[in-house]
Symmetry: C2
Subunit: 409 residues, 2 copies
């Protein structure tokens, strides 16, 4: 297939399997400027599917960087709260949400960590009203990616730009199944497989997961009344959507106060323009009490210092080492892909969908069950072909879930 046809198939997949746009729904897209051709195709498919209005907010790496180079020092506590409040208003009014990733993973590398930390905190705080509607699945939403030159060059540093971009697009189309004859049908089947896996885990009701591997010896308690999720889910507006394309994970909420031991990252993490690699942390009663990183240690330290919840876990996810993303052998420097190459954990905010009847419980009740609260939610990879994972029952007995990174059940 030509690139144009694949791009169109990917756009169609996004609108139907990802967002499942409903007649009369508005759609808000955020995208990098380099994604204009993809945005145009998605917009066309969204209108054909019945969208009433599609609005895209473009981000521009050049002007993002210009701020760090030219803005006064006192500028960095400012965030576009007006825009995020507007987005929250749109979601409350029923609009669907698409985020297209594709940013330069190292755009802000080398910038003043103080400025970065202040800017990220201001942004996280301003974004919270909109983010809570997203993480709480008030509306159908989806995150996908577009191959931009800066991202492609970070993934394939040895290739000329055009070749790197083409190769990254091909990897995206393959990992998202957009290159199959009927991508929408392929996603239906894939979702059914993930649903069978979550049904098994939800039936088991483990008290904790135990991780063993090189540099990792971790007992990770699960939140009470936790719910495993994976693949397509029904948002509170009744629409079934796939929040991530691709997605290979099943995930739930850890108990924010019951994580103990050491764990190290198995793949690099791109966070707000900084590349973080070789993370090694030790937890005590849920909190990170020691940390080092081979690269980007300041950025990771800044991340987990954002607030009290940023040093505790908000998500745990299991992904087989043989996932299509892992098999591609590519380090994408982008969480949307890399998190689907390996089992992972996330510091920060937990998802309300991972606690049973979360919408009927107060924040205090959710916290008592073990749900975490934070301005941030950042995944990092801990899975590999050498990691074993056991499920620990309430009576302390163990059941092997993954052996050397593959499902054992």
């Amino acid at each position: 297939m030509t690139h144009e046809k694949l791009l169109d198939a990917y756009a169609n997949l996004t609108v139907h399997s990802g967002l499942n746009i409903q007649h009369g729904q508005q759609l808000l897209i955020s995208a990098p400027l380099d994604a204009v051709p993809l945005v145009r195709r998605i917009t066309e498919h969204a209108y054909k599917a019945g969208a009433s209005l599609v609005t895209t907010i473009y981000a521009d790496d050049v002007t993002s960087l210009a701020r760090y180079n030219f803005a006064p020092d006192d500028a960095f506590d400012t965030a576009p709260a007006w825009l995020f409040n507007g987005m929250a208003e749109a979601f409350k009014g029923g609009a669907a949400r698409l985020a297209i990733a594709g940013e330069d993973p190292s755009l802000l590398a080398g910038q003043d960590p103080q400025k970065l930390s202040r800017a990220n905190k201001a942004r996280s705080l301003a974004y919270r009203p909109a983010l809570e509607l997203i993480t709480g699945f008030a509306i159908n939403w989806c995150v996908i990616a577009a191959a931009t030159p800066a991202w492609a060059k970070s993934v394939f540093p040895g290739l000329p730009e055009a070749e790197a971009v083409a190769k990254l697009w091909d990897a995206i189309f393959a990992c998202t199944r957009a290159d199959l004859p009927d991508p929408v049908k392929a996603w239906e089947e894939h979702s059914a497989n993930l649903a069978r896996r979550t049904a098994f885990l939800n039936e088991r009701r483990y008290r904790a997961l135990k991780y063993s591997g090189p540099g990792t010896d971790l007992m990770l308690g699960l939140a009470e009344d936790h719910v495993w999720k994976g693949g397509a889910g029904r948002a509170r507006n009744g629409v079934i959507c796939n929040a991530n394309i691709p997605t290979e994970e099943v995930f739930t909420a850890p108990h924010k106060d019951m994580v103990d031991g050491t764990v190290c990252s198995s793949k690099p993490l791109s966070y707000q323009g900084s590349l973080i690699d070789g993370i090694k942390v030790r937890f005590e009663r849920g909190k990170i009490v020691e940390m080092t990183a081979a690269k980007g240690e300041d950025a990771f330290r800044s991340l987990i210092s954002t607030d009290e919840g940023a040093a505790r876990l908000g998500e745990v996810a299991l992904v087989p080492h043989s996932s299509p993303i892992s098999k591609s052998g590519i380090i994408f420097n982008n969480t949307l892909f890399d998190e689907n190459a390996a089992s992972h954990i996330a510091v920060g905010q937990s998802y309300t969908e991972n606690i049973r009847d979360a919408s009927k419980r107060s924040k205090e009740e959710l916290s008592a069950l073990g749900a975490n609260s934070s301005l941030v939610h950042v995944d990092w990879m801990i899975g590999s072909g050498e990691l074993d994972v056991e499920g620990i029952h309430a009576d302390g007995s163990a059941e092997l879930l993954m052996r050397k990174g593959e499902w054992a059940v």
Copy 2:
């Protein structure tokens, strides 16, 4: 000078003479996608001038058109109220506003007039909270233009695209004085000239203006306590800005109930993607009671039917026929330029700055003085080298203001 240097001078002029960005101010830009290189230079100058955060909302003609081609019929009463409410919130918080024009003047030509009318009405209604803060000069704002391929091709239909774009940029740089050695200083002098002209007119306190020319015989009453404005003005946040670059006009508020006679347009008008030309209307007691147009008559009829105020005047402006824009001999198909080539009038909303102490008066008081209220504000050109304008004093005596389109005073 190279195009790059001219573009940079134009960006610098916009930030300093147009917006006069203050330290710590946010800046909201709206721009067509083709204006990315200009937006990047403006953003850099804004940060250097002390802006805390610059956010650009890009518009894309391709997706705007896709809506008309693919969206369901019931989509067209929807507007992005969430975005406009966010913008209003930003302005209330002190953000400055830059609009970059450059849209394809005939993008929506030939689309269903019913859909256009519904979409425009929904948009105008949703935009009103933000627009009132702009027209009421709550904050410093500015409108400029960028030469886009679609616009350039409409201005120079006989030229290849790249040549048309280059020629339109050169015209923009010349008409905005960006090609002078010190554009910021040139604007200071130009503003001083316009200030002398408005001081003269404000001292005269005419009751009405009388227009005579081919096809035009119009007695245009002025609002009580009207104020002539022109060039730089002080916004209510204390910042002196030039709301239009270029601007050659002096303007005030007509009396919405005291306009009688006939007037015809002297240049085409681009309105929401439709080109309107050869307008001829008759007013009775302020209201348009008869209208024809040689081209785009449906679009003009739809415009003046938007609401009660859309068939009455909200602005009257005097521009000498020898203005730089007029002398360029170019019909720009864009109001920002064409309105500065000729004297003009606008149907719809009047500017509160054109009524003395408007902020201290109620809407009812403003209306009683003659100020007009509407969801729209659209300029159209009536000036030419054959138009005479007289100022009519309270006692009925006349003073010749313009003879054959040139200032006589």
